[in-house]
């Protein structure tokens, strides 16, 4: 049983115990709910009446337990019936659209236009008062809420690939709705359910008060709250008990719905929290800062904090970037190339942190260790000395602010200047990154720009303060070939304009590396496996992984592509020794031990023990 399941069962057990009370009310040794005892009206809790007596001297405890029968039956009954009807209407309307949508969704929305209490009164006046009628009236009231929620969720889910796959398979539409769409819209449905139950209990009280629901003297929580409110100054406790019962029920229901979502969800919930809430681990540099030209990473490790200790994601990353160099980090997904880039900017996701090593970086004020900086210390560096270009410009730019304002903000944040001057600088910047008509474009919102122009705008943002180090994380991956070529040319031009700038270019595309980088670090399973200049590494790879990677690029004339068997090992299940050994055709007994990065001369390194044996002619 998983943690989430255990937690769900605990809460369900508690709910079962609580529900047992009203269910067993007839056999419990409770005092009569309508037996009046006027001399003891408003009496406080006592041994005989645990929760005291109400305004007619009736026992509050037994009225709460008996009242739960009516209140919960109405609330859960109407919430459930409305959920079933509303879900069916929403699913049909959202999936089939057109006339079905009008009939199923728009028609129920008429109900929303009417005042809820008035509508309920109308229904009850026609059908006569009573618990059942009340449930029917509330069901009608609640249906449109469900319909709308389910309709919206269905529209969203219906466009997803796996639903389209079912259509392509020729599955009957109703089967698609029941089997594929419904399970995927359960989360918002559960939230809506717990909200509806709560408002059902409240509406029940209002209608009961008007004599349209539960008829006094029969108890219900709503009636009790109403009655207690009138006597609030005489006995405030009377208001407390039914309110506690009400609030407790709603909270319990919310918790159960939340836990149910956790259990049903295929993904486990993310841990961590807002950056300022997390424990700030101040890592003190344990070594004096060395003299570095720009950036020197030594033995850097990033790990994820789990319940059972931390799990390493990258281990012993080491490379150096000199001014004017472009270092490409290349590798497959899960190799740790993006994490390494993020660690340089202190932007690691919440659950991750640097667990060891140094990243020495030269600033105006001297050499600092990026791996040991706190969030506050990073502030002045980010966007100024170090900046980052992300893969998805559409997601990285704020959609509700104009491009020009976003750029001006980053300039003024690090170099305070008047608005006019900043704007002039922004126009110049946009012109520099090749956005046509920059005077007008600064007024544009990100959605008004094409994908390529958005990427240019984000690059403009990154180079706004002439950074010393630019980290580009797959900046061209989402772009079309001709636009990718334009952006690569832009990077080359920016480096010409600012020859001292070091660039870390994260990519999985080897041909792009060849085009843009001077040096390359090949990463595999969280480690650097080979390093050197692009020309030498590509011409003469000294690690079997690099060699295999180059061979798997579909540019050869071979009939079949070279593919590397197997998959990248998962973090937590890394091989003890060489991490590539299980997929390597040259693995030997000695590969079972951890491999250091070996110096192979001419400024090149490899993490392969056997490189000299395997490539004798080059050694």
């Amino acid at each position: 049983m998983t943690r989430a399941q255990r937690s769900l069962y605990i809460w369900l057990g508690l709910a079962a115990v609580l529900i047992a009370f009203p269910l067993l009310a007839p056999v419990l040794p409770l005092q009569p709910t309508i037996g009046m005892d006027i001399p003891h009206r408003f009496a406080g809790p006592s041994a005989a009446n645990w929760l005291g007596n109400d305004e007619y001297g009736r026992d509050v405890l037994s009225r709460i337990i008996w009242g739960a029968r009516a209140s919960l039956a109405v609330a859960f009954g109407s919430a459930f019936c409305a959920a079933v009807i509303g879900t069916i209407l929403g699913l049909l309307g959202g999936y089939f659209r057109g006339i079905t949508e009008v009939l199923a969704v728009r028609s129920t929305e008429i109900v929303i236009c009417l005042p809820p209490l008035l509508l309920a009164m109308l229904v009850i006046t026609i059908l006569g008062a009573g618990v059942l009628t009340l449930t029917v009236a509330l069901t009608i009231l609640f249906v449109p809420n469900y319909t709308r929620v389910v309709y919206a969720a269905t529209l969203q889910t219906g466009g997803l690939d796996f639903v389209k796959a079912q259509e392509a398979m020729g599955t009957h539409p109703l089967k698609i709705l029941a089997r594929t769409v419904l399970p995927n819209i359960v989360p918002p449905l559960l939230v809506q359910f717990s909200l509806t139950v709560a408002s059902g209990i409240l509406l029940e009280s209002g209608l009961s008060f008007l004599g349209l629901g539960v008829v006094p003297p029969a108890p219900s929580w709503g009636l009790m709250i109403r009655a207690a409110r009138a006597a609030m100054d005489q006995q405030p406790l009377l208001l407390l008990w039914p309110s506690l019962a009400l609030a407790g029920t709603v909270l319990l229901l919310n918790v159960i719905c939340d836990r149910l979502q956790d259990v049903l969800s295929p993904k486990t919930a993310a841990r961590g929290g807002a950056a300022w809430l997390r424990r700030q681990i101040k890592r003190t540099p344990d070594a004096p800062a060395p003299e570095v030209p720009l950036l020197k990473i030594e033995d850097l490790s990033v790990g994820v904090a789990l319940e059972q200790g931390s799990m390493g994601l990258t281990k012993g990353i080491a490379f150096e970037v000199k001014p004017g160099e472009t270092m490409a980090l290349v590798g497959e997904s899960g190799s740790g190339k993006t994490l390494t880039g993020l660690a340089m900017t202190g932007l690691l996701p919440n659950a991750l942190s640097v667990t060891g090593g140094h990243a020495w970086f030269r600033t105006e004020a001297g050499v600092v260790d990026l791996a040991a900086l706190t969030e506050e210390e990073f502030g002045p560096l980010r966007g100024n000395d170090i900046s980052m270009v992300f893969q998805d410009a559409a997601a990285a730019l704020n959609p509700v602010h104009r491009i020009g304002d976003q750029l001006a903000e980053i300039i003024q944040c690090h170099r305070p200047m008047p608005k006019q001057q900043a704007e002039a600088e922004v126009v110049e910047l946009l012109r520099k990154v090749g956005i046509p008509d920059p005077e007008r474009r600064i007024r544009a919102y990100p959605f008004e720009l094409s994908g390529g122009q958005r990427q240019r705008a984000m690059i403009a943002m990154a180079v706004a303060n002439a950074p010393k180090l630019l980290i580009a994380d797959e900046p061209t991956t989402a772009l079309d070939p001709t636009i990718q070529a334009q952006i690569l040319r832009l990077f080359a031009k920016l480096k010409e304009d600012n020859p001292g700038m070091g660039v870390i270019f994260v990519t999985h595309n080897l041909a792009v590396v060849k085009e843009i980088a001077t040096h390359v670090s090949v990463m595999y399973a969280g480690q650097v496996v080979e390093q050197g200049t692009v020309e030498e590494v590509f011409a003469d790879p000294r690690h079997p992984y690099t060699k295999a990677l180059l061979a798997s690029v579909p540019e050869s004339d071979a009939e079949r592509l070279e593919s590397i068997p197997g998959t990248v090992p998962q973090p937590g299940a890394m091989p003890e020794g060489c991490r590539f050994a299980p997929r390597c055709g040259h693995a030997a007994a000695a590969c079972a031990a951890p491999q250091p990065l070996l110096d192979t001369g001419e400024g090149r390194t490899t993490r392969c023990l056997r490189w000299a044996d395997l490539w004798k002619d080059v050694a």
Partner: protein, 329 residues
Amino acid sequence: MSPVIEALELTRNFPSRSGWVGAKRDVWALRGINLSISRGETVGVVGESGCGKSTLGNILLGLDSPTGGGVRFEGKYLHDFKGAHRRQMRKRMQLVFQDPFGSLDPRRSVGAQIADGLRNHDVVPAAEIPAEVARLLTLVGLAPSVAPRRPSQFSGGQRQRIAIARALAPRPDFIVADEPVSALDVSIQAQIVNLLADLREELDLAMLFISHDLHVVRHLCTRVVVMYLGRIVEEGPAEQIFTAPRHPYTQALLAATPSLKRPAGETGKVLDGELPSPANPPSGCAFRTRCALATGDCASAVPPLETVGPERRTACFHADLTAGQGGLQ
């Protein structure tokens, strides 16, 4: 050999309106597409986003309806089939998606999702479904024991294999693969490309392979069509298109593709500008706004797709000037 699937003068517009009261204007996603695919043949569709590649795939599968023209599957028009007959038809044509993380239902086991296709059309008797699922998983190179697992327990490459197994379940004759490898890592991409090539041979499938990775298309496809703004601008055998492109757009596309074989320091000729808006395409040849060869003729008429060699067609008024230029290293 008679084609499995044919597109005849396919046209698709998406009606749109600029603003609330703005003029109604059609976005032309496809215009006059003619294409046929035979058994054992893989046709690559290349072009930039917005050129109509995916719309073409959807229409061929019957997941979208054309505004004009029609699709013929084994000689019968798709639009003649409705309801249950249409669904029956669908098992013969399947789709492999780009995103291996979005194309599988996260809440159901992969075995159940593969079995859906078998159950829908009674491909095998109910009792044999587990065995058939196991066979399909083995076919795509996975262990049969993985069937009860949920998609989240698989890597991207493994998911793409599962998606392919699911597509193969109803024993289709025609498969549309919409960017099936572009979300995968290089080494995994090679595995999937090899798998698709093997399956094509083994099952004698007709395949439409949509991709913007020209290297992969060149490797896998037998024939290639190049699309620009909803039209086919060039068509021909893959090897010829890549070694001797005739349309200036194809040449530009090839030049823009980074290559390991290109000598260091030499960058290809970079095409300026961006794809014009399909809601407001240029008159005449849609590519003329970015084309170095464009003349007055190009603005006044749309160049027809004309034969320029055996099985080669190109839509350029200046095709005589472009011979012998460009090509992928």
